[in-house]
Symmetry: C2
Subunit: 502 residues, 2 copies
């Protein structure tokens, strides 16, 4: 019986092919080999750990067993309920200290914690606020009373308003709530994806007036890098539409200004923090645009990349896939670079959907056919065996953002996240946070926690974490020599981390 089973594995497990079993019980040694062979396939399954690493690994394993058998298992809860539990988790504390490499999937409008936006930015002079009829807010910096715009007919100077308010802490909290998805009752308030996406887009718009104020943008980007650095992240690829920015007097700056500002801030930051490697931009436009608009954006991306080769990593389409247009719809626009003989790397969001079998569900295959460097989310990838094979063979990594997928209602219990399949197969993968400020996270540690404890389960180990961190450099858009630099920097941090923890 067992003989035929080992014969069946012929080819993949040559070690076992010549073993024959005569009695009825499967040979425990062979069983052990199979278990270890399977474990070796997972992300980090072939990483060899040093003695000190093994010690830390054993410690993490014990902690994880404890957390898995506790009354409340954070990855099984909505993140808004799980967050305070995670903050108390000893595993989380290790993950915060761990050098995690790069954050490769974050959107610029949601980079910095809302706390900073409200407590710092909205307290700056000349900040006006308006409350719209649809229960949203708009902000605007202006040196005079703003004209009505954006459904706003009544702008109030925040300074004046705050002077009249009796409960300033309560007021600030109400502002924070407009700028994030956080709520005490996520299941009640967001009964389905449509509702949560609506709030999501509204919060984006609310933040825009603050972030696109030119002087704020500069500080905002610096603050964003600082939050990542504090969480032991060393490099960022930021998806950004490079929105126009405005000055107090109404002067408007263009995309190039934003890019230059981004470049300046990054330079200043890496000068201040030499253990931070840098940041690049993935220029992104909304998938609600027309083909000709996307074509123009692709042309613009080519141009910007030519002018800022060190800063512009490539191009992406953003916005909710289910309600947007498919990659295939934009095929003519997306073929433009190849047509004109230029390389424009793509970093497509694809497969952030549970609408199995619809047109949108083909985005992953099309992302691959358009030679995407990575795939944003790829939530639906496991339902596409051919695309999955392809992505693996082409070494196109999936950008896994577990908390985003949960908050945007693709999955409730993260143990059911499809990335558990990818992780068990060692599929190319990096961890990111998508929209940290909207979900109430900072850095990558929360998403690493969910990936490590919830998605990876008890079998994910320190080798998994190490490979995920290394992946974030390997699958970055950095040129080879900078990848080497980054890897060296990361290794030094890792050694320090291990000796501190052991």
């Amino acid at each position: 019986m067992a003989f035929s089973i080992f014969q069946t594995l012929l080819g993949c497990l040559p070690l076992l092919c010549f073993v024959s079993v005569t009695d009825g019980m499967p040979d425990p040694t062979q069983r052990d080999l199979l278990i270890r062979e399977e474990a070796s396939r997972q992300t980090g399954g072939r990483v060899t750990l040093t003695a000190a690493e093994q010690e830390l690994d054993a410690y993490l394993h014990r902690l994880k067993e404890k957390e898995m058998s506790a009354a409340q298992f954070p990855p099984a809860l909505h993140f808004f309920r799980a967050k305070p539990l995670i903050q108390q988790s000893s595993i989380f504390k290790v993950l915060q200290k761990m050098p995690k490499g790069a954050a490769l999937h974050i959107h610029s409008s949601s980079l910095v914690s809302v706390d900073w936006l409200v407590k710092n930015v909205t307290y700056r002079p000349h900040c006006y606020i308006c409350f719209t009829w649809d229960n949203s807010v708009r902000f605007l910096f202006s040196d005079r009373q703003p004209f009505p715009r954006w459904n706003c007919f009544y702008w109030q100077l925040l300074e004046t308003l705050r002077a009249k308010i009796k409960d300033p802490a309560g007021f600030d909290n109400s502002l924070m709530q407009r700028l994030t998805l956080f709520t005490e009752d996520p299941d009640g308030e967001y009964p389905n994806q449509d509702v949560v996406w609506e709030k999501f887009e509204r919060a984006f718009i609310a933040a825009a007036g603050l972030i696109t104020h030119a002087p704020v943008l500069r500080d905002y980007l610096y603050q964003g890098l600082e939050e990542l650095h504090r969480d032991n992240v060393m490099y960022l690829e930021l998806r950004s539409g490079l929105s126009k920015t405005y000055e107090l007097d109404g002067t408007i700056h263009d995309k190039v200004w934003s890019l230059k500002t981004f470049q300046d801030v990054t330079k200043k930051f890496t000068a201040d923090y030499p253990d931070f490697l840098g940041a690049r931009i993935i220029f992104s436009v909304h998938r609600a645009l027309s083909v000709s608009e996307v074509r123009a954006a692709v042309e613009e991306a080519i141009q910007l990349q030519k002018e800022f080769p060190d800063v512009v990593a490539g191009f992406d389409l953003v916005g909710r896939e289910d309600s947007g247009r498919t990659l295939w719809y934009f095929r003519e626009a997306l073929s433009l670079p190849a047509e004109v003989g230029v390389t424009l790397p793509y970093f497509f969001h694809a497969g952030e959907t549970d609408k199995e079998g619809t047109d949108v569900d083909q985005n992953i295959l099309d992302a691959l056919l358009f030679n995407s460097t990575r795939i944003g989310h790829g939530y639906a990838l496991v339902h596409h065996p051919l695309a999955k094979d392809l992505s693996r063979k082409l070494d196109v990594a999936v950008e896994l953002c577990p908390i985003s997928n949960q908050v945007l209602k693709l999955v409730s219990d993260l143990r059911n996240h499809p990335a558990a399949v990818l992780m068990s197969e060692g599929h190319p993968m990096v961890i990111s946070s998508d929209d940290p400020s909207l979900f109430g996270t900072t850095g990558l540690s929360y998403d690493f926690y969910q990936a490590f404890v919830g998605i990876g389960g008890l079998k994910a180990n320190l080798g998994t974490l190490k490979e995920l961190a290394v992946n974030s450099i390997r699958y970055s858009s950095l040129p080879a020599h900078l990848k080497d630099t980054a890897l060296l920097m990361w290794q030094n941090k890792w050694h320090a981390f291990i000796s501190d923890e052991a």
Copy 2:
């Protein structure tokens, strides 16, 4: 670009290996080939449909698009909320009429709808009831006032009790609620797996006093076959512990009596309904037993199979995996048949867990190493790439019971059920209902609906349904000649179904 992609697929897609692409856009024809190649991998993806079948398929596709875009999508809701929506679904109505083949994973204590148990069985004479301190009930048929037993100190004759009750319908409903998991507020009442499993086991115990009454058992089995037959199911493999049964006067019958009764009832039923093929038993004991007790049960199974080769299909271990003992724990007992040179087919529940990486999570591999004929649930299979390969190569089908997995809180939105991965890969699979009476289903149509609409998504088609039905015969325990008979019977039914529907 596209050239390298097609080269990458070399080996799996020979058709495409010689195609070269020169311009920047992926060739639409080749893209189409890839999409069709992927679609062909899914369950039923290689089934050729007749013109009439294609028509029905197109109709189902349109219905599914409509249901997927409705405000409430049944597979995304808890089944207790989804059930009334499913009952109104036109897809469901087609599935009810569709010949679905065999039900291969149903437990004997939960075979018949609770409605029948309450409205028929509890109205029989001599039926006593007792309410226990832990909010459960016990039933007992007796020709005299029963002695205290099972935590029951006060037995009331139901006839007498009912005569005193003002709201008999309300009373009957309360009985039904003790015998199923149904509740208006499943999320509130069952906050986690522990709570729902506790209620689950309690409901089992409550039903036992009714079902193990010898005269009831006979009718119960007949009624069970009738409910399956009415739902166009034609064959059953029933997991049963072959509990002892009792007569009014307290006489006790043994397992052999139960087996003979099962055989008699099946014979009578197939005589009454010649288009029903029959039923077999998978003898099952609880995984809470000790090794020596399981060893004794295996011996008993061997003996019963020798005496009733046409009825006893094999052996299984039942009960919640997470709180029970692992297959490997029972390895000595399970090796017994091979040791004594006997073949005892196994049909192990394995991988009905989300505790990734625990000992229990290895049950699937061990089921395969012990040569299991099928795998009950295999919920965790997709997280085990080696076991998955093995199960595919050995052609060991997974028994998918979607509603059971949802109600027992492994997954909330069935679009996230891991079987979606298996289905997209065409993994050997059958659909069953596990504990229909506890979940409030009858037959297989509800589970087929969830598999077809929720798990399979828009891409599952009539070919998928056809293959799933055929699989239920192919992967049954029937000997080859009976499989041929069954397949012929099923094909006749299928043709009739198609001509009725077209």
